[in-house]
């Protein structure tokens, strides 16, 4: 089974509507696997690409956000950032992307509100974090977490300028960066966003760390970033799961660390072809074509 077979399998899984479902056993089109698939297949299959792009544009909510799956509520979700990234460089998608970026700027972690700041400073202090440093939630009206914040930073960093209604973008990105730094685990790396709970350090996760580090590609000298890259490089060889390994490859490549042995390890994992989770299959394809993938994610090498 070769690398091209993995791309073929990804193409085969595209639904008639142009999107992809989360699991191969499902027919419910979902946005996250569609974005990864579009990013992975961008230059491989024009027809597939066009249908995926059309699907994404049709799925946008009236408020500019994107839902998690077709049929979901219309409030919007974290995948808005990911779709904005996936539609990068597609000229007809510019209005949709601008609307989405406006929605992103209007959306913030709930701890940004004065009342919740006060609560987290006084009555609810078991999770160590600074509520002044907030980013983006998984979906509106909840607090900030690492993965949605990292993707929002990547999406907003693609804006060519902070003009035309995007004047707030630089400060929101800065605040998000501060939030990620604040939520890092004590020994480096990130998990969902709880580094220290009840005085105990909570362990980092390779995938969350890798995604956060993509947002820090331009800060390699920062001590938190360096420690986290070291953590990822140290732990990844023992990771035997394709999702985390693929994210680690992309992130370590972005931070100019060697990835050849990890790439070989990824290819050697059993049953890649039969991965049920389509996002994971697409991530594997992205990791095996990492230069193209990072360019599509807007991460410069």
């Amino acid at each position: 089974m070769g690398v091209s077979d993995l791309f073929e399998e990804l193409i085969r899984r595209q639904l008639p509507c142009g999107g992809w479902s989360a699991l191969v056993s499902s027919a419910q089109p979902a946005l996250e696997p569609t974005c990864y698939s579009l990013l992975a297949l961008g230059s491989h299959a024009t027809d597939v690409h066009d249908r995926a792009k059309g699907f994404l544009l049709r799925a946008q909510n009236p408020n500019g956000s994107w839902p998690v799956f077709v049929g979901d509520d219309l409030d919007g979700s974290w995948v808005t950032s990911l779709v904005t990234i996936a539609l990068r460089d597609i000229v007809p998608a510019i209005p949709a992307r601008l609307k989405a970026l406006h929605w992103l700027l209007s959306n913030a972690g709930k701890e940004g509100n004065w009342f919740w700041k006060w609560k987290f400073r006084t009555a609810d202090r078991h999770v160590r974090f600074d509520p002044d440093k907030f980013g983006w939630p998984w979906f509106p009206d909840t607090v900030s977490w690492v993965v949605p914040t990292a993707f929002a930073i990547l999406a907003l960093n693609q804006l060519p300028c902070s003009c035309g209604g995007f004047e707030l973008a630089p400060s929101r990105v800065d605040r998000g960066v501060e939030m990620l730094m604040d939520r890092a685990c004590p020994g480096g790396g990130w998990n969902a966003g709880n580094g220290l709970v009840y005085g105990s350090a909570v362990a980092p996760h390779p995938d969350d760390t890798a995604i956060a580090l993509l947002a820090f590609r331009d800060r390699p000298q920062d001590p938190v970033v360096k420690t986290s890259v070291d953590y990822l490089e140290r732990t990844s060889p023992a990771v035997a799961a394709p999702w985390s390994l693929a994210w680690a490859i992309l992130s370590l490549a972005a931070h100019r660390r060697p990835i050849t042995s990890l790439r070989n390890a990824l290819l050697a994992l059993p049953d890649l072809f039969y991965i049920e989770d389509t996002s994971t299959l697409a991530l594997v394809c992205l990791a095996l074509d990492h230069e193209h993938a990072l360019a599509n994610l807007g991460v410069s090498l």
Binding site: P137, P206, D208
Partner: protein
């Protein structure tokens, strides 16, 4: 800083929500009574995870007058994250033993399904915790509930104020849902047992990791709404190696040497609480669940297997849950 009307309303609502957690629920927030006349619980002795588990579980299941012949059985373990040396997850050997026992009892199919609440890479947790190998060897299918097809589901109780949740098809279409928790203390909810284990059916792909909406809406309230909406038909709780202290992730392993089987999740949780040295009525979701979801009162619980005895030393809990201890 100016205080807007909206901020005031947010503040007032939050204060009211906070008060509702610490005070009893005076008004009924459910519209049905699912309590059986009598519930049955069996505490089985098992000192370690070994090949004897298959026999122990099958003999235990035969203590209950259940019929799973031709049914789709979904086993829902507690699979959160993997930290070497920590007793976080329901042990895969117990899950495999249960799957084989249900197959022998005539189940049409047995599926293991879970949506880890902390770790986004489900396959990594499966691989690190030994599930991947065990399930593959026994040809048992696993469904990632964080990414399963979702169905808009009206909630059947109103503790959280939420009208509905998107829930996974695999769980909603199961004929027989078995909650398989790890017996643990929990720094937010006091204990995490069969009822709290249902947090794992709330999909991360829709609600994020961790499933933060359930914390904002109230953990005890969310447990009640979930258990009212998706009935648990049976419980197999892993207390062979339990956890005490700062659970659910960073607590200390605590050997309990027990598996708890029950045909009622409230009776299961009340029994597990007693085994941990707690008064079950001090846990809000157990106390409230006993009003409509099942029985917590010993007078309505038939004990099979070992007699339930509180431990000489109760399980340690974080300071906020010292009130759990039985007087």
């Amino acid at each position: 800083m100016s205080l807007t009307r909206r901020d005031f309303l947010i503040g007032s609502a939050a204060v009211a929500a906070g008060a509702s957690v610490s005070t009893p629920f005076f008004l009924p927030k459910y519209h049905f009574d699912r309590r059986p006349k009598r519930s049955r619980v069996a505490v089985l002795r098992a000192e370690q995870y070994d090949q004897q588990l298959g026999r122990i579980v099958e003999e235990g299941l035969r203590l209950f007058p259940m019929n799973v012949r031709g049914k789709t059985v979904v086993l829902k373990p507690n699979l959160v994250d993997y930290l070497p040396g920590n007793a976080i997850n329901t042990h895969p050997m117990l899950v495999v033993a249960a799957a084989e026992a249900f197959r022998r009892l005539g189940a049409k199919s047995v599926v293991v399904a879970e949506g880890p609440g902390h770790q986004r890479d489900t396959q990594l947790v499966l691989s690190q915790s030994g599930y991947q190998e065990s399930l593959r060897e026994e040809k048992i299918r696993f469904v990632d509930l964080n990414r399963d097809e979702l169905i808009r589901t009206p909630l059947r109780a109103s503790y959280t104020g939420m009208k509905e949740l998107w829930l996974p098809r695999t769980v909603l279409e199961a004929d027989f849902l078995v909650s398989m928790p790890k017996i643990k203390t929990h720094h937010w909810s006091g204990v995490t047992l069969a009822m709290k284990n249902m947090f794992g059916i709330v999909p991360g792909s829709r609600y994020g990791w961790p499933k933060n909406i359930l914390h904002w809406k109230g953990i005890q309230e969310s447990i009640l709404d979930l258990c009212a909406t998706v009935p648990i038909h049976f419980v197999i709780a892993d207390g062979i190696m339990a956890m005490e202290g700062n659970g659910p992730l960073n607590g200390t392993p605590r050997p309990l040497g027990s598996i708890v089987l029950a045909d009622d999740p409230v009776a299961a949780d009340a029994t597990c609480a007693r085994l941990m040295g707690f008064d079950p009525s001090r846990t809000v979701h157990v106390r409230e669940g006993a009003r409509f979801l099942g029985n917590a009162d010993l007078g309505h619980i038939d004990e099979a297997g070992d007699t339930v005895k509180p431990p000489t030393t109760p399980f340690h809990v974080v300071p906020e849950f010292q009130n759990l201890y039985a007087l």
